[in-house]
């Protein structure tokens, strides 16, 4: 009994000492917020990104931190709950007073935190490919815009594979709907007739694909080469590809190019039915460059698992983090306004070669890679863009956004209409 009390007291004393130590330390650290879901449905994808940021921070601290100060991670868990994202963002910015936040995955979580970052003048790095149609002063989009993923993928199918008939299949929510709207407009601009485009939406986690796959098969047997552009999200992909395999639709007959199937998603499933199907990303783990090999080695050492894979959003965080470090060092302060001004024009090498440059619309230049799925869950790069593609926030193929430009250097506006010469604030719609 007594012993227990003593032990308890000692641990309290230790805790107090530790608190005092962290408080003393906090004065000369730079706080970095990490806003990724660690529980709930998105935890599978987002936990990896949290670990990536932690690894980058640890590495930077080994180099001596930034401006002579150590970095300190503040990790919160928004639990795949969109309103909670806004609350946690508020907490990071107001209570913890972080200098920068790395976070969000789904578009709806980004939309939810956007007003918080704009109100409190925070700084967010968003690492996932998204539907575009947005440019905020406070957000840097390090993932791909539609013209850095969807459009090049369609170009590849059209020019290299010779696809003439198109199936746009997606899960029923904002990213697939907007992307497919852009793609439909793009295909029509390229002279594809309406009867050669089939659009299909399915609910989240759809599993009964027999009818849709049979329809795709019928649509594809009309004598013209057919391709499927898939914005099908998450879980639903597995039964979809399984059904394709069972109905004997091979990648050679009707290739499926997916925008949300990456190494991480493939690592947990039976990849047999997927072999030969395509994915479009800006990074593949299989790309053979010294920088990438080094990154994979570091990641596996950090996570203490020699089988862990890397993926595209991880690279986006690596680029975003390195850019932020460079900008802070250049501005000699972590002050958000000064960092935002310094960010544009900063250059950081990609892991797959080439240089990522931050553009005035807060998007990056990126290489676009098309890969075919291998049996081991990795990709063989079969095509890539010559040089880098600058990210376009506002698609040129949607009637509403054609005339809109984002430029935070000269125009100081994320939504500037070149026809009416008006700036409608940071957001659109």
């Amino acid at each position: 009994m007594n012993k227990f009390k003593v032990g308890g007291l000692a641990s309290i004393a230790a805790a107090v000492a530790l608190l005092a130590a962290t408080a003393a330390q906090a004065a000369d650290t730079i706080k970095v917020g990490v806003l990724h879901s660690l529980s709930g449905t998105m935890a599978i994808s987002e936990t990896t990104l949290k670990d990536t940021v932690l690894m980058l921070i640890e590495e930077q601290n080994k180099k001596g931190g930034i401006l002579g100060k150590k970095l300190e991670a503040v990790v919160v868990d928004p639990a795949s709950n969109w309103p909670l994202f806004a609350e946690k963002a508020e907490q990071l910015l107001v209570k913890d007073k972080v200098s920068v936040v790395f976070g969000c995955w789904t578009s709806v979580s980004r939309k939810s935190v956007l007003p918080v970052f704009e109100k409190n003048n925070g700084l967010l790095f968003y690492p996932v490919q998204y539907e575009g149609e947005e440019s905020s002063k406070n957000v840097f989009y390090t993932g791909a815009a539609p013209n850095q993923q969807a459009i090049p993928a369609v170009d590849y199918l059209m020019n290299d594979v010779g696809v003439k008939r198109w199936v746009l299949a997606g899960t029923d929510y904002v990213y697939p709907r907007t992307t497919n709207k852009i793609l439909e407009a793009y295909l029509k601009a390229k002279g594809v007739k309406s009867e050669d485009i089939m659009i299909n939406y399915t609910p989240f986690g759809h599993s009964d694909w027999q009818r849709i796959v049979a329809d795709i098969k019928k649509f594809g047997s009309a004598g013209k080469k057919t391709g499927v552009v898939s914005t099908i999200n998450g879980d639903a992909n597995v039964p979809f590809y399984k059904e394709l395999g069972n109905q004997k639709i091979s990648a050679e007959d009707i290739p499926v190019v997916a925008f949300s199937v990456g190494e991480e998603e493939l690592s947990g499933i039976d990849t047999k039915p997927l072999v030969g199907h395509l994915a479009a990303w800006n990074y593949f783990m299989s790309v053979d460059t010294p920088a990438n090999a080094e990154f994979i080695k570091k990641w596996r050492a950090f996570i203490k698992n020699n089988k862990r894979v890397t993926n595209d959003p991880m690279e986006a965080h690596v680029i975003g983090f390195n850019m932020w470090v460079k900008a802070v060092e250049k501005a000699k302060t972590t002050d958000v306004n000064k960092v935002i001004d310094t960010m544009v024009g900063i250059e950081v090498p990609n892991l797959t070669g080439g240089v990522a440059k931050m553009l005035p619309n807060h998007h990056l230049t990126k290489p676009v890679l098309i890969g075919e799925v291998r049996a081991d869950g990795q990709f063989d790069t079969v095509w890539q863009t010559q040089g880098l593609v600058p990210g376009d926030a506002w698609s040129d193929f949607l009637p509403g956004s054609k005339d809109i430009e984002a430029d935070w250097v000269t125009l100081k506006c994320g939504n500037y209409n070149t026809k009416t010469k008006k700036c409608s604030g940071q957001n659109y719609e």
């Binding site: 449905t41 935890a43 599978i44 594979v161 029923d172 299909n200 939406y201 399915t202 609910p203 986690g205 759809h206 599993s207 009964d208 027999q210 009818r211 849709i212 049979a214 329809d215 047997s221 009309a222 004598g223 879980d235 597995v238 039964p239 399984k242 059904e243 395999g245 069972n246 109905q247 004997k248 990648a251 050679e252 007959d253 290739p255 947990g268 499933i269 039976d270 030969g276 075919e372 063989d380 079969v382 095509w383």
Partner: protein, 556 residues
């Protein structure tokens, strides 16, 4: 005399890329024999062309390898298709390599003699893409045409028909005369007839149309449609009216068959969806229908069955084919055991208090989900499909039935029959029905109702586990599997009529078929909504479902 690629004597062609180039080379080879020797590069040269990462160049090199028709062409093409072809980074020499542990065992492609074992890092694998694989498969198929097995020959012909070019046509024409097997000859004739539709002579085209009259090949349908469809200017691609009218007649009969098979296909899709619904609902029909317990954890019991399949597969990785069959009784025992535990631990204290039962079992469902998350992580688990369940049964060219769905339909029928036998023919079934009809009376007749309750609940839960095994082959095995089926299950039971297994069967099947009939017109999302609305309206008219229980039992 060795030709350097690019400096070709004789007539100047601007070679198109890919297959067209290959055809040109072959045609030139046939036409100008003496020049052809200089035309085609040697086997070694063709091989060295493969050592590149550019797919256009690779395709050209593959064309060369096919064109030289070297004794080892087939071996090399096969190695390339299997991903066993490598080149040495230092001098770009091509080898056939097989991965052996961490090393690469090399084989010289020209002499086929072993060339030692080395570190893979100095070698680069020659990758293929979809177009290249298609070319390779088609070329390999032409080798298979002479195979002893008619099945292999048939597969080779259909492989070649996928992308038939002038070269393929001449190979097939040569084969037609010597082919002994009737089915293979017929397949070759269909392919040649399709090629003949482009013939110069109207009589040949007419004969081709006549030949293709009964074919359900989609390619035939497309070609015939093209013949009878006028262009924008009002003229026809096919100049001869006789050919056109023959095509119209042929097309009319093909269309009749196609729509018939299309209807059959929809019916099958509906039945397979219906079977999934029935399988997931039939356990509930027992616990909810017979016992009157609203078991919200029913979906999680299915999830347990699916996870059981996964664990069984982990335990017997060498026998994936049998693992699913083994998993069925195991899943029944696991889910049934959990069901008995739920009944003994929770539900028996709450009989006659439906709201509390609902909340308590909902709590159980959350506990089970979290348990699975803690044991197996939140990620989906990969359950492998056994070979015998993959692929599809090709009834004819317009109708194919996927094996996994077919087995699920059969499986549902078997489960249903067994369940009916248990309830109607065994003493347990008699007691279950007695307790369901009148508990007090049964008790006074000496039936141990408590014991019967536990076993009935266990039976319903075990069936849910068995349904989970079937679901593991159709959908993702993850902690949320149960949630996506629980609503559908209740829907089917209520629609079919509480306490009636036949009602569940008919109800599930008709919901499945209606859903699949609506889906092509309304889309997956709207079809589901429409079915739900129809169901609500139906329940308004007939609150007791399709087959209501009659008599005094219904009042209880």
């Amino acid at each position: 005399m060795q030709a350097v690629p690019g400096t070709r004597p004789g007539p100047r062609f601007v070679p198109p890329s890919g297959l067209g180039w290959l055809v040109l080379v072959l045609m030139m080879g046939m036409l100008w024999r003496p020049a052809a020797a200089a035309e085609t590069p040697s086997f070694e040269q063709a091989l060295s062309g493969l050592a590149t990462s550019n797919f256009k160049e690779k395709e050209r090199a593959v064309g060369d390898v096919i064109a030289v028709r070297h004794a080892n062409t087939r071996v090399v093409l096969n190695a390339l298709l299997e991903g066993n072809l490598y080149y040495r980074k230092s001098d770009r020499r091509v080898f056939i390599g097989t991965a052996q542990d961490a090393n690469l065992q090399l084989q010289d492609p020209v002499t086929l003699s072993p060339a030692g074992t080395t570190e893979p890092s100095e070698y680069s694998k020659i990758t293929t893409n979809n177009q290249l694989r298609k070319t390779l498969k088609s070329a390999l198929a032409s080798f298979d045409l002479a195979d002893a097995d008619p099945q292999v020959r048939l597969a080779a012909v259909s492989e070649m028909l996928r992308s038939l070019d002038a070269d393929g046509v001449s190979i097939l024409r040569a084969r037609e005369g010597t082919e002994p097997d009737e089915a293979v000859r017929e397949a070759i004739r269909t392919g040649l007839a399709i090629a003949d539709l482009d013939g110069e002579d109207a009589a040949i085209r007419l004969a081709a149309v006549e030949h293709l009259k009964g074919s359900l090949n989609p390619e035939v349908f497309n070609r015939l449609t093209a013949i009878v469809t006028p262009t924008d200017a009002g003229s026809y691609a096919e100049p001869d009216e006789k050919v056109r009218s023959a095509a119209r007649v042929a097309l009319a009969s093909i269309e009749r068959w196609r729509s018939l098979f299309g209807t059959l296909e929809t019916l099958f899709f509906g039945m397979s969806l219906g079977s999934v619904l029935v399988l997931s609902a039939i356990g509930l029909a027992i616990t909810f229908g017979v016992m009157g317990v609203i078991n919200m954890a029913h979906g999680e019991l299915m999830m347990l069955g699916a996870y059981t399949t996964y664990v069984v597969q982990l335990l017997m990785p060498q026998h994936i084919g049998a693992s699913v069959l083994v998993a069925i009784p195991v899943a029944f025992v696991v889910a049934g055991g959990v069901g008995v535990a739920i009944e003994r631990g929770i539900v028996r204290f709450l009989y006659g208090r439906p709201l509390e039962t609902l909340l308590a079992t909902f709590g159980v469902s959350l506990v089970l989900q979290q348990l699975v998350r803690d044991i197996f992580t939140a990620n989906n688990r990969p359950v492998e499909t056994p070979q015998w369940m993959a692929g599809s049964l090709q009834v004819n060219e317009a109708l194919s039935i996927t094996y996994n769905r077919l087995y699920v339909v059969l499986f549902m029928v078997i489960v249903f029959v067994i369940l009916q036998l248990v309830l109607k023919r065994t003493s347990l079934g008699l007691k279950v029905r007695a307790v369901a009809q009148n508990r007090a009376m049964a008790k006074s007749m000496g039936v141990r109702t408590e014991w019967v309750d536990a076993l009935t609940f266990g039976l319903g839960s075990g069936i849910a586990g068995v349904a989970g095994v079937a679901l593991s082959q159709l959908t993702n095995v993850g902690p949320n599997l149960g949630q996506s089926y629980i609503i559908d299950s209740f829907m089917v039971v209520v629609f079919g009529g509480v306490g009636n297994l036949w009602g569940t069967l008919i109800g599930g099947m008709s919901l499945g078929v209606v859903n699949q009939v609506l889906e092509p017109y309304a889309g997956a999302v709207l079809a589901k909504i429409l079915v739900l609305i129809a169901l609500i309206l139906f329940i308004q008219r007939r609150p007791r479902g399709l087959f209501p229980q009659k008599g005094r039992a219904a009042e209880g």
